[in-house]
Symmetry: C2
Subunit: 196 residues, 2 copies
Amino acid sequence: MEDSARQGNTRERLLEVSAELFRERGFHATSMRDIARVAGMRPASIYHHFAGKETILQELMRGFLGELLSTAQSAAAQAGDAPGRLAAVVRAHMRLHAACATVALVTDTELRALQGPARQEILALRDRYEEIVQDILRQGMRDGVMQVTDIKIASYQLLAMGTGVVFWWRPDGRLSLEEVVEQYVLAAYRLCGVHP
Amino acid sequence: MEDSARQGNTRERLLEVSAELFRERGFHATSMRDIARVAGMRPASIYHHFAGKETILQELMRGFLGELLSTAQSAAAQAGDAPGRLAAVVRAHMRLHAACATVALVTDTELRALQGPARQEILALRDRYEEIVQDILRQGMRDGVMQVTDIKIASYQLLAMGTGVVFWWRPDGRLSLEEVVEQYVLAAYRLCGVHP
DNA sequence: CAATTAACCTAACGATCGTTCGGCAGGGGA
DNA sequence: TCCCCTGCCGAACGATCGTTAGGTTAATTG
């Protein structure tokens, strides 16, 4: 089945187009006719590749959060003290959010559009991501190299800060990606009370 | 016109109901029929109080951002060094976000739903809010009591962190509001490199 | 008391929504 | 050659959308 390449291209193209439209207008303000028009096909043809509109959103979120989770787990699993692990997670987080800025923004802003089991599944992925950060904070506190008043609040502050980058960062901006990444690593260190 | 109280009540009730529904389902997933049903009236009656659905959202955002801006300006205008002004702004920000958690969340997540001049107006209010923070950071750098690598990025980090509180804070939560407020003041100090 | 107006109603408009049905073109396998 | 399957299409379904026109009620005003 060498035509799976063509199918894969169409599927992937539909996902990209949908993500772009969801980011610009929001999930509910984007119609299947909009997606079809930009993708160069008719609305009915989309249903050959996806079961429905919400399925497209699910696939986008599952893909992004899954990748975010696996890269964060790899980063957190590498040997080192808590600050080193935190820095690795922040760098992985930032680079993936920069590489997938569109779908990252959609994932963070359209959680309300999901319903039923898919919503629970996505929320579970997000919770696991939070726990990675909180585990590092606990280790840092235990080792006496981090000073935070409340681990949960500190993790919320870290995640809100790190997620917010998709709202302003642009690849052609004033600062290079790696400069921005290192500023967020420094900010994370400061938030956690890591002594420089 | 003592019946202005009744009209004011209905208008205010419609605003509250709309904010609650916009927060739960999002602006585009909320219909005028939904709003009318929860408010105990018929869809057509809403148009006696508002020109249309988007007008309701505009009014919610204008009201919240206007109040946020005025309280922040008062906080920033009080005499004191940069850290003192920053702490005052953070406290005002947190207390207003806690008091108006619903409309605060709507304001932060439904900007895409606004179009035309109203969108520009709301964006201008948000920009003025950013500038308040950036002015304080500039003063802190000038006085040598703050250490940030980039003022714009630092302000984005601060605002993302401070805005994110609406996504997890609940009035009946584990910590009192003032405890949370002071943790965010401490976090802001750390982010800005204020020496303790 | 007459006139006005605010507040709300019923009913319906045209548009658009997500989705489905049945069919058409064409290439690969038997 | 025949068949089937993939990919796409035209057309339409029922539902729901934001909004409006016009009427009714009750309170206020002059």
